[in-house]
Symmetry: C2
Subunit: 215 residues, 2 copies
């Protein structure tokens, strides 16, 4: 498989984790989002949205959208299950994953940050207020749900990682990159640490990818 | 089943369509988002995020996040299939659905519009520029993909509606509510019209629900 990603992309991080957990061999091409390479014709031909990740599996057309890719990997490949067998548990995992991947992460992607600064002339610090507000909304709901719902175990759903954990840890790593306080979210923190202790997650970590800031 | 929704909610609209296409009996309680009823303790106990839809199926805990609910209905109920059998086609449907439900719709929900006006003091018309920009990004990518990719038929994927169409028509109806120009998107328009011609979609239409503006 061939992944188009970026060191900082939370969505590409989720896909890298799944590929590594399932021991699927892949290569990754790192698109420089800061240089705008996602908008160049070569990449727009792969994903007209101009967003990573995009994944090629053999000769087929590119797969896009991180959650769609995670489901595709789950349905077509072996390795550890990343969705529970029970339909209600699966729905809970998907709901937690979408709380991050739909309702939180899209609010702080580069194209939104640029729009707020360029179109509204917001200085960087005020734009970052919007980013932090997005993080806090997602983290607060995650904390409330994970600390009160029956399904929570060592990970979001029971004691093995699922798509919900891949999303949770992708959000968690962003709190460091964007300077979001994390003290109010001890359950999220506990599960994020359990994720980060997995070799697949450690290897897929944004700061270990080419292009990431050193040190 | 018991749905908690709102006339205007694009996400609740998607779920209503699926329930009607699959002929699943349900009742709907309409939460007044303009009055802030989604933030009252009674509803926060159902969904700590303070967002619709939430769906009860029997005695189990509430199901939340529209795409997770659609997958749950697909996996647990009969009626017409709303996801294709082929894994690659299913991944394409999910990618198109998430282009709307992850990367477009969350940018213009009430909590984001309020934040821009209350926190940044943007007058309504400038806030609406952010909303229209979100719509345009989603619609442009949908148009490019649907007009060029092999899978497109009468609907987004072939000739029967899927989750992608439920998301597409939920975005399309929003263009009317938010005054977004639609001329540049003829393929999206054609598929939206095919959706709106389905009795299930017509019955589930936001403007036909209690609380919607009359006339």
């Amino acid at each position: 498989m061939h992944l188009y990603g970026n060191w900082r992309s939370a969505a590409a991080f989720r896909v890298r984790i799944a590929l590594k957990l399932k021991a699927i061999p892949y290569e990754e091409t790192f698109i420089d989002l800061d240089a705008g390479d996602q908008h160049k014709p070569d990449f727009r031909a792969i994903n007209p949205q101009g967003a990573v990740p995009a994944l090629f599996d053999g000769e087929g057309p590119p797969l896009t959208q991180s959650l769609a890719i995670l489901d595709y990997l789950e349905e077509t490949r072996g390795g550890p299950r990343l969705l529970p067998e029970d339909a209600r548990a699966r729905a809970r995992v998907r709901s937690l994953a979408q709380l991050v991947a739909c309702d939180t992460h899209p609010l702080y992607v580069p194209r939104v940050r640029s729009f707020l600064m360029e179109e509204y002339g917001l200085p960087k610090e005020r734009m970052m207020g919007f980013v932090r507000h997005a993080f806090e909304g997602g983290l607060r709901t995650l904390e409330t749900r994970l600390s009160s719902e029956d399904g929570t175990g060592r990970f979001c759903q029971g004691d093995a990682p699922t798509h919900a954990d891949l999303c949770l840890v992708s959000l968690w790593v962003g709190t460091g990159i964007f300077g979001v306080p994390t003290d109010p979210y001890p359950t999220v923190a506990r599960i994020a640490q359990a994720c980060l202790a997995l070799p697949a997650v450690a290897e897929a970590h944004p700061l270990r990818q080419p292009g990431a800031p050193q040190g």
